[in-house]
Symmetry: C2
């Protein structure tokens, strides 16, 4: 299978696949006579795992490592590490969501102040730094 076909099947792009390869995150595939990359079903399966793990927003290196292990049959260990990674990611998500919601409330408040005639300087307070130093 050629790179475009593989990319389409996994809803990614040839660029991304080549990028993973350059980074050493995927086994170097065979080449046809015309130098086109030629992927097996096993290659595809491994990449499918990698892409799937990336969609969980795991760091690329970790996603690639887990995909490699799993393909090599260490599914138990992958399962373990994955549970751990998921729990960490969920904590990170909770923090991030809180941040974004906080920012949203701040923006709502600001919009209100601007609407009632406050100047930008007055509104972008930042605490007028010097006061609390």
């Amino acid at each position: 299978m050629r790179i475009g076909t593989l990319a389409e099947r996994l809803r990614t792009t040839p660029h991304a696949i080549r990028f993973y390869e350059r980074r050493g995150l995927l086994p170097v595939p065979q080449r046809a006579d015309n130098r086109y990359r030629s992927y097996t079903e096993q290659d595809a399966e491994r990449l499918r795992l990698l892409v799937g793990l990336r969609q969980l927003d795991l760091p690329l290196e970790q996603a690639a490592a887990l995909a490699g292990m799993c393909t090599a049959g260490h599914c138990e260990q992958v399962s373990e590490e994955l549970r751990e990674a998921i729990s960490q990611k969920r904590e990170e998500l909770r923090r991030r969501i809180d941040e974004l919601q906080f920012l949203d409330r701040r923006l709502a408040h600001l919009a209100g102040q601007l609407g009632s005639g406050e100047t930008p300087q007055a509104v972008i307070t930042l605490g007028k730094e010097e006061r609390d130093v």
Copy 2:
């Protein structure tokens, strides 16, 4: 005032300030005899606005542009543009928060499946691509 002092007052770093300057987002400050950057209160005020706007997570270029305009006295217009930018940013935030919450639910579901003995491959479904093509 030197760059370190200014950075501390605005809770940013000398690196960041020089970075803004290199990007042409801040007026080039005067230099002392020793070639150290020397900032006036007006410089500080302008940077304060920039930093404040960045904390609202406006794009750097836009934050810098608004800070410049405001410093130049076009506060009305800034106020207008800022309201618009805030409303757009809030939409973006809503979308982003939805995404993150969706991912969080997915992760929770996955953790459950892994806990009840499913293999990673089975769980990182991705729809087993071929089916819906």
